[in-house]
Amino acid sequence: MSGMSKIVKTAVNILFPLTMIFGLYVIAHGHLTPGGGFQGGAIVASGCAMIVVAYGSKWVFKQIKEKRLSSFESIGAVGFIAVALLGLVFSTVFFGNFLAGSSLLFGTIPATGSTGADFNTGGVLPLMNFAVGVKVIAGLFVIVLVMAYASSVKEWDT
């Protein structure tokens, strides 16, 4: 797809940071409020798809290569598995929650029942949320970007 008119570009310039902030908020507060890695990643990838629609895939390809996005996705997957393996090392099982109950980062155990939102809880779940968020952002964005570029090219060599 090629770029669209100036009105669309201006509207996207205003809307894109808001979408980005909302998506990152949903990722970061995944263990307290509705949300998490998948949902926030989908919201941020929607904002990136908005950029692709407004500016055209050729312009986006000049800014970022799809190999870099693909390696970001691999980094997210490796981080997820690494946190799970750390559970095997420091706790007893794969996917063990070794940070919960300790005095380290994210280690507080909240009171039972209806509580307020304490960000410093959750054990390894916020770290996994970040890893899965990076993975979903990069994966869905690279899918949309590559498909948009392929649909704008007229001649392929099949």
């Binding site: 509705p34 998948f38 989908a42 209806s114 509580t115 307020g116 979903v136 498909m147 649909s151 099949t158």
Partner: protein, 119 residues
């Protein structure tokens, strides 16, 4: 009868998607039918996990007077649905990429013509 309406809706959505898969010839319409079936399955899982007068299983500032665990909806079907949605969009992207490739190779989206062209 009246309490079975969500399940009847799920069955109707799966029928609609199955009809599109079986009787439509366009490949993109078949993909849309598969997506409708998947939406029906997601709705089925969420409907299975609903508990009467329940609230969402999130403890941050609960409504006052909530009893748990009897007053909360079931969390496991929601988690399974969450996994299913992301798998659905991945499969949709892969199917549509294959459809675009087929169109560039054969020049048509009709499944019967494609089968005839293949020989």
């Amino acid at each position: 009868m009246i309490e079975y309406i969500p399940f009847i809706v799920v069955a109707t959505m799966i029928f609609i998607g199955l009809y599109a898969v079986l009787f439509r010839r366009n490949l993109i319409k078949i993909v849309i039918g598969i997506s409708i079936i998947e939406s029906g399955v997601n709705l089925f899982l969420i409907t299975l996990g609903y508990r009467e007068d329940g609230v969402a299983p999130i403890f941050t500032s609960l409504p006052p007077g909530t009893t748990y665990p009897a007053g909360m909806v079931l969390p496991v079907p929601q988690a399974l649905t969450l996994t299913s949605i992301v798998i659905g969009v991945a499969v949709l992207a892969l199917m549509l990429s294959l459809v675009m490739h087929i169109y560039r190779k054969y020049g048509t989206l009709d499944v019967r013509k494609i089968r005839r062209l293949k020989e």
